[in-house]
């Protein structure tokens, strides 16, 4: 497997995740794009650990940590989104202005 191809794929996923995170009007879709960004980071970790450190595999440990953090982030994010939806009856990003008082 060529290293550059994998890195280019990961850069593509990262940039399209940032695009979706900025332009999406739905909070749940923003969460999905956040998962895309974390997965791009994970692809880089695993690929570098396979190419440069194939005996120690420390990049795999870091990718497992990132997966655990992403699971916690998804749980907290869904809870916050459901709380906002209960208060505002809307999941548009620009209508969640509860702190603006």
């Amino acid at each position: 497997m060529m290293l550059e191809h994998v890195l280019i794929l990961s850069a593509y996923l990262f940039s399209i995740g940032i695009y979706g995170l900025i332009t999406s009007r739905n909070i749940v879709r923003a969460l999905m794009c956040l998962e895309l960004i974390l997965n791009a980071v994970n692809i880089n970790f695993v690929t570098f650990s396979d190419f440069f450190d194939s005996r120690q595999l420390k990049g795999d440990i870091f990718s497992i940590f990132v997966i655990a953090i992403a699971a916690a982030e998804a749980a907290i994010g869904s809870a916050i989104v459901s709380s906002i939806y209960r208060n505002r009856k809307s999941i548009r990003i620009n209508q969640s202005t509860l702190l603006n008082k």
Binding site: A11, I16, L31, L36, I61, F65
Partner: protein, 178 residues
Amino acid sequence: MDLAGPIHDFLLVFLGSGLILGGLGVVLLTNPIYSAFSLGFVLICISLFYILSNSPFVAAAQLLIYVGAVNVLIIFAVMFMNGSDYSNDFHLNLWTIGDGVTSLVCTSIFLSLLTTILDTSWYGIIWTTRSNQIIEQDLISNSQQIGIHLSTDFFLPFELISIILLVALIGAIAVARQ
């Protein structure tokens, strides 16, 4: 996994095109439930990708945690909260000027990353690191290596991750149930 050359290349091209189309689908599809399923497809492709790069433990963890837990949670969130917003949202789905500026910025980020990746001589780095490693081959498998690391070097971060997961669990329940 060390497959033969043509099978490996075919799988790589297949997974790469799946990643590209799925990533576009997550961002550009109008219905959020379709983009949630497209996200699941992207995550499955990434998991197969980890199997191709000799990391079956991370592939299993990706498949179990991301596809089994996170994506199902997101689909539940879409299904619970997709009520009144989506139907009257069509007139706002135009291509605004902010989208154009953002796509320009993201394309420039991607192109700068691309030039950085293509300019770096990776194989020189590979040969310098390979020469530093010990020549002898041990017979420890991937998951055994990860388990040894998690119980010796990375023991404190492992415990901190478990505390973070517990706090996130309690916090999510406390936020969502009131």
